[in-house]
């Protein structure tokens, strides 16, 4: 507020007094100057007041010490110091300074005017400090580029790899140039896919390596078996006269196959440790699903490939050259081809009711050589009395289809086994349920070349000899194994094995060695060269009450695999006595090759033939 506030100690004046005017005058008089200075005047002998008083007020006095250079005092000073009256004043200044600081300087003592000597030892700096700008820090930090550690070695193989990579790139460029532009887009699409795969931390790439590890681990566990397989030779064979033994090696079993019987076995010709097992059931009442398994000797614990099938597998065959193609015959009469290179669980081709499948179980399939159009083909035999040839034909779309070349046979009986001659392509044998064996030719589809009354029961297997072109063998549930010369109507050898014979197989290394399996769980090995009447080995290889169903010799190693009706496959090693090569006389070279085998067999046969037949080789 603008109200006036009266301080408490203000002088109280009356109204009139307040209005009184006071005059203030600005004068040049010194207020401090006395106004009544009195001086004694001797003239009048009294004190008299001075008329004017000095009004000067001095506020500030400073006495300087500058002298004019021409004044007396200045001259006197200069003389005292000994400097010329005129001259460089700068030098004079420095000299003066020097003189003042160092009284023992020569100049001063002499007092003469001498030439100035530059002082090397004693000089004074004239420095002046300029105004220093205050320092200020200015920082800027960029984001550091991402770093990665890189280390590499320059090796022979690094260089090699680089060259290989370069070469591959060049080839790709060449390929691209050949392909049309529309297809180039496809390639790009594929490339994108590949890129994505490479970037992700894809653990599925370890699959191949995991397989190797599994084999190594298995090898460790079954180390003794692996060693036996490779190196063990039964030394006691020397003492055993002519007999031999079978050493059990790995046993292959799969959980899901426990209730099934082994219905087919086949070795792969290219990878001699890989074999196929077909699983199904021989019982009419117990038909269900089947399986196709591939095992490798390198890993006995788990199959390499597993295929489940709707119907039981009854037979299979692996193509001799293209060992990834497997032909399979089923209980329901279908045939199918599996391609092991493909990923899927389904067969690549399958016969259907339309394409003319069999109406009864297929008992045997066999691959044949490619026909004139380079199509793959195979034969199958079935209980419905037909022997059928299937061909993979290229249909107009480029896809392949199983097509049927029907082979009509006028016989009423049901075929149970089939085998083609090893050297003569068109010649084959069919065994029937009634025990007859028919020799047929591909070119004569309506007639048999020959019929042999072989057995009393169904012929379970017929097999041509690997070496001798005339010899084949058959086995049956009537407990017998018979060996034939196809030019002779009656068997050359007959063996009674005391139990139904499931399968026979010739050995791939000798024309006179063969093996048979029976339902009492025994394997019988014969060598006709050594003993014409008895087996040189009879051994039970499975538990009691297990029937053995199939047997196969390995093409390279001295082992056999045996399948039984519990789904197990047992591998056995043949002891040296079972693998005997004929001893040659000293000094003669040991002849090798199939001719020797043929000669061996021929020798045996000739003993049994009538005297007027062909002379010995």
């Amino acid at each position: 507020g603008k109200t006036m506030v009266k301080p408490p100690d203000q002088l109280d004046l009356s109204e009139a007094e307040l209005k009184e005017e006071f005059t203030r005058i600005l004068t040049a008089n010194n207020p401090h100057a006395p106004q009544n200075i009195v001086r004694y005047s001797f003239k009048e002998r009294s004190y008299k007041q001075i008329s004017s008083v000095d009004q000067l007020a001095i506020h500030f006095v400073l006495e300087g010490n500058l002298l004019h250079k021409d004044s007396d005092e200045a001259r006197r000073q200069r003389a005292r110091d000994g400097i010329p009256e005129d001259g460089a004043e700068d030098a004079g200044d420095t000299e003066e300074g020097a003189g003042e600081e160092r009284p023992d300087s020569l100049e001063i003592s002499l007092g003469k005017k001498e030439r100035k000597l530059t002082n090397q030892f004693n000089f004074s700096e004239r420095a002046s400090q300029t105004m220093n700008n205050p320092m200020r820090e200015r920082e800027c930090q960029t984001e550091p580029p991402p770093r990665g550690k890189f280390s590499a070695t320059a090796n022979q193989w690094e260089i090699y790899d680089a060259y290989v990579e370069e070469r591959r790139k060049q080839e790709k460029v060449k390929e691209k140039q050949k392909v049309l532009s529309s297809k180039k887009e496809e390639d790009k699409g594929k490339k994108k896919l590949q890129l994505v795969e490479n970037q992700s931390d894809d653990i599925t790439k370890v699959a191949k390596v995991a397989k190797i590890i599994e084999r190594m681990v298995t090898q460790n566990t079954f180390d003794d078996i692996a060693q036996d397989f490779k190196y063990f030779e039964d030394a006691s064979d020397e003492f055993r006269d002519q007999e031999g033994t079978l050493l059990p090696l790995w046993k292959f079993q799969h959980d899901k196959a426990k209730r099934l019987s082994v219905t087919a076995l086949c070795w792969n010709q290219k990878y001699k440790d890989l074999f196929a097992v077909g699983l199904g059931s021989y019982e009419f009442t117990r038909q269900g699903q089947g399986m196709l398994l591939f095992y490798s000797l390198k890993n006995a614990t788990f199959p390499e490939y597993i295929f489940s099938t709707m119907s039981g597998v009854m037979c299979l065959d692996i193509h001799k050259q293209l060992s990834y193609l497997v032909a399979v015959g089923f209980y329901d009469g279908c045939v199918a081809i599996y391609n092991l290179k493909e990923q899927g669980p389904q067969p690549v081709y399958r016969s259907t009711a339309r394409s003319g499948k069999h109406t009864d179980p297929v008992w045997q399939v066999k691959w044949q050589k490619d026909d004139t159009d380079n199509n793959h083909n195979f034969f199958s035999v079935s209980s419905d009395g037909r022997v059928v040839s299937w061909t993979l034909v290229k249909v107009l779309g480029g896809t392949l289809r199983l097509s049927l070349d029907l082979y009509l046979k006028p016989f009423l009986s049901c075929g149970t086994s089939l085998d083609f001659h090893k050297q003569i392509d068109y010649l084959f044998l069919v065994g029937t349920e009634e025990g007859k064996i028919h020799k047929c030719s591909k070119s004569y589809s309506s007639q048999f070349l020959e019929t042999y009354v072989a057995h009393n029961m169904a012929v379970d297997a017929v097999k041509w000899n690997h070496f001798h072109p005339k010899v084949f063998m058959s086995c049956s549930s009537d407990w017998t194994v018979k060996i034939w010369d196809h030019t002779i109507k009656s068997p050359v050898f007959t063996f009674d094995l005391n139990a139904a014979v499931g399968d026979v197989a010739w050995s791939p290394y000798s024309a006179t060695v063969f093996a048979a399996v029976t339902t009492d769980g025994k394997v019988h090995v014969f060598d006709l060269h050594i003993n014409k009447y008895e087996a040189i080995c009879q051994q039970a290889v499975v538990a009691k009450k297990t029937k053995l169903t199939h047997i196969e010799f390995n093409p390279a190693y001295p082992i056999i695999i045996v399948g039984d009706d519990r789904g197990y496959v047992t591998s056995l090693k043949l002891s040296p006595n079972l693998r005997k090569k004929p001893k040659e006389k000293k000094g003669q070279e040991l002849p090798k090759g199939p001719e020797v085998e043929v000669a061996k067999m021929e020798k045996l046969l000739s003993l049994l033939r009538e005297p007027e037949t062909v002379p010995q080789d």
Partner: protein, 94 residues
Amino acid sequence: MLEETLKRIQAHKGVIGTIVVNAEGIPIRTTLDSSTTVQYAGLLHQLTMKARSTVRDIDPQNDLTFLRIRSKKHEIMVAPDKEYLLIVIQNPSE
């Protein structure tokens, strides 16, 4: 398929542990405890690189398939791949 294989390997008789190591030496999968895994992975990775280098130096067209180290107590098996390394420790005599 791979999972089953690895499970089978782990369940196999005598197998103590399985480790999958990537190209940089970092374990991506293991059945052992962390410190042991890291130790095995680091050491075996270096050894495998050295072994592979040796094999390829002698013949660049060749490559290492697997490496086995058998010691008194157990056996270490290493199978290298282009990008991965699979290590299995097994006690073979069990």
